[in-house]
């Protein structure tokens, strides 16, 4: 048995008081944990939605006519441009300070091949990132399953009379049309999308890229900051941002975060007051007990240790329970806010530790004044009868 045994016995055998203390702290911890987690979930949700809008950063070689025409119709001189973008630039992009804000990096390499004496623009893409970026594509047929499979735009399909299942020969390679992209109203309608490695190989330009599209979500900094960081890494490229309607969504989430911060502070304040009055009342009840500790030779700091340890242990419990409860709440709030039927539970060890730390800090701060006052109590109270 040691001093802290007193703390543990008191917690265990004065269950009502312990429960109320833990309850007061759970209130604060669960509220904060759930609001933080809802904010995070909304952020992730926003990131997904961003992809729906496509890329918001365009990286093109400097002085490349193609970049000026992307989005237009004329791609005639594409192949004659000397590109200054290379495959290795992808790694450079992925090494910027805010790389965690980069959601998708989609490289492209364009080349015009002749099919039945008609020039056709081929876009070499990495299908995985391209499909992630262009979620609005509606494909009849299949997504490309291997290097030889391609997607064809509606206009190109009509012009060349090529449909899913057809094959086409470029140089000595036999490509298959796996799917048809329904009309998008963009330049995508006039192209054939094929594997970027294959196109590079067929043209003998294994490292070359025509442009890179990036979708990024930078929450705490403007998109311009990511543009700046990327430009720094790629001095030979032009990096420009494409404004998206995402901004309005961002400010909604931003408002929610402010609201959440406001509510959290209020709840923490209430919780601090509850803990304070609880500890205060509980210690007033124990004045005679504390008088006895003094009479048997405990110092002020011995008594402070007993009281603080008791609160710290209760707070750790409250942190754990508050976190679990907060996670539960956050999933309910999130599905309510996003009107989705699915409940997402995210367990995060750092959040758990943060919750426990927060609970201990709030618990100790709230009870420090009554605890110190008790430790300095006049011990002669133990001599008063009753």
């Amino acid at each position: 048995m040691n001093l802290y045994s007193i703390s543990f016995r008191s917690l265990r055998r004065r269950k009502g008081k312990t429960f109320f203390l833990i309850f007061s702290l759970i209130l604060a911890v669960s509220a904060i944990a759930s609001l933080i987690q809802v904010s995070n979930l909304l952020n992730d949700n926003l990131e997904n939605e961003l992809d729906v809008f496509g890329a918001n950063i365009l990286i093109t070689p400097k002085n490349n006519a193609l970049s000026l025409n992307y989005g237009g119709i004329n791609f005639g001189d594409v192949t004659y441009q000397k590109s200054s973008l290379e495959l290795s630039d992808l790694n450079l992009i992925d090494s910027i300070k805010n790389r965690k804000n980069l959601s998708t990096i989609a490289p492209k390499f364009f080349h015009v091949f002749e099919l039945n004496n008609k020039p056709v623009l081929f876009a070499g893409v990495d299908f995985e990132s391209e499909l992630k970026l262009k979620r609005w594509w509606e494909i009849s047929g299949n997504n490309p399953a291997n290097k030889m499979e391609t997607l064809i735009g509606t206009n190109a399909s009509k012009r060349l009379n090529l449909f899913p299942g057809d094959t086409l020969n470029i140089k000595d390679s036999k490509l298959i049309i796996a799917g048809l992209i329904e009309s998008t109203g963009s330049q995508d309608d006039d192209m054939i999308f094929a594997d970027i490695g294959l196109i590079q190989q067929l043209t003998g330009k294994k490292n070359e890229l025509s442009l890179i599209e990036v979708s990024a979500l930078c929450y705490d900094c403007p998109i311009e900051e990511i543009v700046r960081q990327t430009s720094e890494k790629l001095p030979n490229a032009t990096v420009s941002s494409v404004k998206k309607t995402i901004n309005s969504k961002k400010s909604t989430v931003g408002k929610f975060k402010n609201l959440a911060a406001g509510i959290s502070s209020l709840i923490v304040l209430i919780s601090v007051l509850m803990v304070f009055s609880n500890v205060n009342a509980s210690l007033l009840e124990r004045t005679k007990e504390i008088g006895v500790y003094k009479a048997v030779g405990y110092t002020d700091s011995n008594i402070l240790k007993i009281v603080i340890a008791e609160i710290a242990v209760a707070s750790l419990f409250a942190g754990l329970l508050g976190y679990l409860l907060g996670t539960l709440f956050s999933s309910v709030i999130y599905s309510f806010l996003t009107e989705s039927k699915e409940y997402i539970f995210v367990f995060s060890l750092p959040m758990l530790f943060l919750s426990m730390f927060l609970a201990v800090v709030v618990g100790i701060i709230a009870s420090l004044a009554p605890a110190i006052r008790s430790s300095k109590l006049d011990p002669t109270v133990a001599f008063r009868n009753l």
Partner: protein, 236 residues
């Protein structure tokens, strides 16, 4: 002449409440020798408890000195005074003041918890004092399961566990019936025979005659001090 174990010199303690000054102890001096059994008597409000808390190093006098074993105890720092209480004094209170959420044994161990001690040493100490107060069989009970007399014996065991030379008891029989009270005083008398210096506040005139020495307070002043053994001897 050899110095007394406890010397109380011109002890004064006053309280100020609502602008009025109340002298709880008004210029009291006496000495107690090692091994004495002393009774302190006087009506309610005469300053007995106040005197006892000052003797035990629990409240600083307004003026005057208390010297125990050659230490002028109120010249000590608060921390040293805590150590003095732990090593020199065991307190017994009228309403027992046991800790409700601790068992009998845990209550008894409370004074040892600020010392470096192994579980074994603690257990031995507890067993020893429980034997003194004859409660070995109830050591794992919570204290509210015990009778008043038993609870006061637990309190005595707690006062003994640090093996202090002085036991201070403030009306230890005040909440007990006569028979049970006598049993408690018997335990204290046994401790006195074993060498402890005992100072007990009581209203019971009977206990005056088992004490070596008794002092009477009236409104904070010492009105008489008697060597009771002499009286007893004279009567014989």
């Amino acid at each position: 002449m050899e110095k007394s174990f406890i010397q109380i010199n011109n002890l004064i303690k006053y309280f100020e409440s609502t602008g009025e000054i109340v002298y709880a102890v008004a210029d009291v001096s006496f000495t107690v020798d090692k091994g004495d059994f002393v009774t302190v008597m006087g009506h309610s409000g005469s300053g007995k408890s106040t005197l006892l808390t000052m003797l035990g190093g629990l409240s600083r006098p307004s003026s005057g000195k208390i010297i125990v074993d050659e230490f002028d105890i109120y010249s000590l720092s608060n921390k040293q005074l805590s150590a003095f209480r732990r090593e020199y004094v065991g307190f017994v209170f009228q309403s027992f003041q046991l800790i409700s959420y601790l068992t009998v044994k845990e209550n008894i161990l409370v004074p040892l918890l600020t010392k470096e001690m192994t579980d074994n040493e603690q257990n031995e100490k507890a067993a020893e004092v429980l034997e003194w107060v004859k409660l070995s069989d109830k050591m794992n009970r919570l204290t509210h399961e015990l009778s008043g007399g038993e609870q006061q014996r637990v309190a005595i065991a707690r006062a003994l566990v640090n093996d202090p030379p002085i036991i201070l008891a403030d009306e230890p029989t005040g909440n007990l019936d006569a028979t049970t009270g006598n049993q408690i005083v018997d335990v204290l008398k046994d401790l006195n025979n074993a060498g402890k210096t005992i100072i007990i506040v009581t209203h019971n005139e009977d206990y005056r005659f088992i004490s070596d020495y008794s002092i009477d307070l009236l409104d904070g002043k010492l009105v008489s001090e008697r060597e009771n053994n002499l009286i007893v001897i004279n009567e014989n």
